[in-house]
């Protein structure tokens, strides 16, 4: 049945529609929980699950239908007022949505629902369905729950008249009416009915097609720009009029096509009520989520890009921002915390705010922590405003939560959020008032494909600078330049409103020109473009500032992609290509060059050295082994840090494992691992024996909690058990003793102490190999 093309298409449509329905369903369910009397929400939930059930019955997905059916039956009783919604029911219904979603993705991937056993879920739902309604249900007393064989009672609940709970209810008719109707005829009729409601005036279009259209419109805009230039120079009247019309049409077309790719941000937000509910329940908190401006529209690619960062921040806000009910009461606040999501347009950008009314960020503690971690010095901390200190949370390796939880707070989070937002040309900012709450504010561009940019000229080349990183433009008159531009040990600075602005010369950075004699340069006016890169400002000195223009961003070929100074290229009105500067890349480059220049004068050596310097600065996780040895692991390789209870460790196939996120996580012990390789691999079997014995000689009495560093190796996770996690530092690593030991790169001085740098890749590879060898040994 699934083989023909037509069927495939039906399944595809079913999938898309069902995913959408599920998203809405989750949202409505959470709404319903807070407003149990909202009959409209209930009706729409019912309708959605009914549609899913109907269509999958029609397509022959029996398991899916079964699950949807019991969910629907419960909902129908809720709708008819026979039952009252309880939190348990909401949870069960959300679980139903999860189960359906999993089956859908399985159908998408493999064409079937996958190996699942949803008996338990079905039993729970059925039990709830027959629970007495008006008074809170008392599940353990119900005989149905465990006793009734499943196959009998589930699909056809209406044929169990002996059920006592059911007899107690007054309205038998309406309930069975529905259940009966769903049995056979309806599935065919309903998908059609469901669809016709909303989709009469809309069609689904492949995103790829829209992308292509967008590209073509981009071309058209460029061609128009070129034609306009020609017509202006020719001055032919008829041509001018036509050109003008073309201009208008192209502009409107561009807007229209852009609109087709726009989606309301509410599409992403639909998932959040569920997330907030889950996280809050998990942390024992009460949190209400409110949303403003869910209709604010953004380009689809941007929506995709901000989805995960937003999710992370929402989880963070619930986990860390909002206090526990007791603490809130003590602080004189309502027990229920409030999380507000706001989105609105402003100045060609979209602003998104996530604010909570929690405890706020403790700036003093944050600074103290940053000093302890060596991220800033004590003097720097003193000079920091509260606003600046709050933004420290974006530093990799900082988390203020005292208690690190499952949900968030490993300090490998907010920095990633920021990187992701900046990647799409947005900015993130945090403000916080102690005791009142925290607000994270993001500015996101509307679209990625066409961006406003400033065009500058330097050394006869034209470059585009994305407007998002532009702060202001300065022009120093000829003659003024020599006195206004000062030097600090060879690097140029300018006093901008009392603060030193480091200057970067674009032509020199791009190596386009032999170093200009600064005396000769002093006779010309100096144009400075003040730019923002990360949290730093710098002035870019260019020959000429031309104009701002809407440019179409085009990717660079792979031969050039590796140069981080360029973000892409664009085609200018005259048909020539101009490079788009990557402000962050440029800033990094300029920064490093400044350091290297002092070290060596030779151009070529300079280049190699810079490469090295870039690589050498790394963020490291410091750990300590039982015997006090310090070791470091590059943070970039680490997926997560976890803590497991000692008794969570199980054994499988001669190896220690723990259950982790629904998978089995093999554990390696670092001390043994290194030990056995240091003594040569002949000792392997012995080492393995020690492992089997107890916790081994690693730590004698092992602590209750195991600190585990989780690495991701392809599709698999591997956990490395370490004795203690010390710190996260960013340091320049100079390997002093390249090691011959396997598993260790060598030693370096980190925080004034000798530290071994672990060779994680080697370690993981060995772990893989060992698994194979181990399997052979046991036989």
């Amino acid at each position: 049945m699934m083989e023909s093309n037509g069927d495939n298409q039906i399944v595809q449509e079913f999938l898309i529609e069902s995913y959408e329905n599920l998203d809405n369903l989750e949202r409505e369910l959470v709404t319903l929980e807070s407003h149990p009397d909202d009959m409209k929400a209930l009706a729409s939930i019912f309708r959605m699950i009914h549609t899913i059930k109907g269509t999958c019955g029609f397509l022959g997905f029996g398991k899916l239908e079964k699950v949807a059916h019991v969910g629907e039956s419960l909902l129908s009783r809720l709708r008819d007022g026979e039952l009252k919604l309880t939190p348990e029911m909401t949870t069960a219904l959300l679980k139903t949505a999860d189960a359906i979603r999993q089956m859908l993705s399985s159908i998408e991937a493999n064409g079937n629902e996958g190996e699942r056993n949803d008996q338990e879920l079905i039993a729970t739902l059925t039990r709830m369905q027959y629970a007495k309604n008006v008074t809170p249900p008392n599940p353990p007393e119900l005989p149905i729950a465990a006793g009734k064989p499943l196959d009998e009672g589930l699909l056809e609940p209406e044929v169990t008249p002996e059920d006592p709970a059911r007899n107690a209810t007054a309205y038998v008719e309406p309930a069975s009416d529905h259940a009966v109707a769903t049995s056979s005829i309806e599935p065919v009729a309903h998908p059609v009915a469901g669809k016709s409601q909303a989709s009469e005036s809309t069609i689904r279009v492949d995103v790829g097609l829209l992308d292509k259209l967008m590209n073509l419109v981009g071309e058209l805009v460029l061609a128009r720009n070129q034609i306009l230039q020609f017509t202006n120079s020719l001055g032919h009247n008829g041509l001018l009029a036509t050109g003008q019309r073309l201009n208008l049409i192209a502009t409107e077309l561009q807007e229209g096509v852009m609109k087709t790719r726009m989606q309301p941000i509410g599409n992403v937000w639909t998932k959040f009520p569920r997330t907030v509910r889950d996280v809050a329940t998990h942390c024992g908190k009460l949190v209400r989520i409110e949303m403003e401006g869910r209709e604010t529209e953004l380009d689809k690619t941007i929506i995709e890009a901000i989805k995960d960062p937003l999710m992370h921040m929402v989880r963070n806000a619930v986990d860390h921002g909002v206090e526990r009910p007791e603490a809130r009461r003590a602080a004189g606040k309502a027990e229920e915390g409030r999380l507000l999501l706001r989105a609105y347009h402003e100045g060609g950008q979209v602003n998104i705010e996530i604010s909570d009314d929690g405890a706020g960020i403790d700036c003093a503690r944050l600074r103290a922590k940053a000093i302890k971690r060596g991220l800033i010095t004590a003097e720097q901390a003193e000079r920091m405003s509260d606003r600046e200190s709050v933004n420290l949370i974006f530093h990799p390796g900082l988390s203020t939560a005292e208690q690190i939880s499952n949900v968030s707070g490993r300090g490998v989070g907010m920095d990633v959020v920021r990187t992701n937002i900046e990647k799409i040309g947005g900015t993130v900012d945090v403000s916080s008032a102690p005791g009142l709450g925290t607000t994270v504010r993001m500015k996101i561009p509307l679209t990625l494909a066409i961006i406003p940019a400033l065009i500058v000229t330097s050394a006869r080349g034209r470059y585009a600078i994305p407007q998002v990183s532009l702060l202001e433009l300065l022009r120093l008159k000829a003659g003024e330049a020599s006195s206004k531009i000062e030097q600090v040990q060879g690097s140029h600075v300018y006093r901008l409103r009392g603060r030193l602005l480091p200057l970067v010369y674009l032509d020199r950075e791009l190596k386009r020109c032999p170093e200009k004699d600064s005396a000769a340069g002093a006779h010309k006016a100096v144009n400075i473009v003040v730019l923002q890169a990360d949290d730093r400002q710098f002035g870019l000195v260019v020959d000429e500032i031309n104009d701002t223009e809407e440019i179409v961003v085009k990717p660079l070929g792979k031969q050039i992609k590796s140069v981080s100074t360029f973000a892409g290229a664009t085609i200018m009105g005259d048909g020539k290509v101009a490079l788009i500067l990557d402000v962050l890349g440029l800033a990094q480059r300029a920064h490093v060059v400044g350091e290297v220049r002092e070290r060596s004068a030779v151009e070529d050596a300079d280049r190699a050295a810079k490469k090295e310097a870039e690589q050498a600065r790394q963020t490291l996780l410091l750990i300590q082994e039982a015997h006090g040895e310090r070791m470091a692991i590059p943070l970039s390789l680490i997926a997560r840090l976890e803590e497991f209870n000692r008794d969570a460790v199980e054994r499988a196939g001669g190896q220690e494992v723990v259950q982790y996120r629904g998978h089995i996580l093999p554990l390696m012990r670092i001390a043994e691992y290194l030990g056995k390789h240091r003594n040569g691999s002949a000792v392997k079997s012995h080492a393995a024996a020690t492992t089997t014995g107890s916790g081994s000689g690693t730590a004698g009495a092992e602590p209750e909690k195991l600190q585990v560093v989780v690495f991701r190796q392809g599709e698999k996770n591997v956990g490395l058990v370490v004795h203690r996690i010390l710190d996260i530092v960013e340091e320049k690593i100079v390997l002093e003793h390249p090691s011959h030991d396997e598993g260790i790169h060598g030693s370096a001085v980190v925080q004034n102490k000798v530290t071994d740098l672990l060779d994680i890749e080697d370690l993981l590879q060995r772990e893989m190999d060992e698994e194979l060898v181990g399997a052979g040994d046991r036989r």
Partner: protein
């Protein structure tokens, strides 16, 4: 029609006769204005605008370690199609599309040294001259030595 044949798009570089499989060639263009790209390998001569698509132009003379063509001589573009998008090979002059028999093919001579060796797939012995067949995958890659 006895022997198997292949078609090659041919061009000249410093008097040598080169060919690439015709299926890999998207089009051939006369000189196009280029935008120089700072900070990259000198093999990359610049970017050209091919009907709105931005294409990297690789100077084959430099890629093969030959001397630069005289200033006045404008290079021609052979636009190559690859899985990672198109790129342009800058050559001196364009030749014909020719059909050659497979049995005239020989791997590159062992005595061939330097960069050219890695980039040559082999040689077709034509009646009056040799046709050097380029490995277009390799030419698309920039050697690190050059960067």
């Amino acid at each position: 029609m006895s022997a198997q044949t292949k078609q090659f798009c041919t061009f000249f570089l410093e008097g040598h006769y080169f060919g690439v499989p015709v299926q890999q060639v998207q089009e051939v263009l006369r000189y196009q204005e280029m935008t120089e790209v700072p900070l990259v390998s000198s093999v990359v001569r610049g970017l050209i605008n091919l009907r709105g698509q931005i294409i990297t132009a690789v100077d084959l003379r430099r890629q093969l370690g030959m001397t630069d063509r005289p200033e006045k001589q404008k290079p021609m573009n052979v636009i190559m199609r690859t899985a990672d998008g198109a790129f342009s090979l800058l050559v001196d002059e364009i030749g014909d599309v020719i059909e050659v028999e497979d049995n005239t093919f020989e791997p590159p001579p062992d005595t061939l040294q330097g960069m050219a060796k890695g980039m040559l797939r082999g040689v077709h012995k034509l009646p009056n001259r040799l046709l050097l067949i380029l490995d277009s995958e390799r030419t698309a890659k920039l050697s690190d030595a050059e960067a």
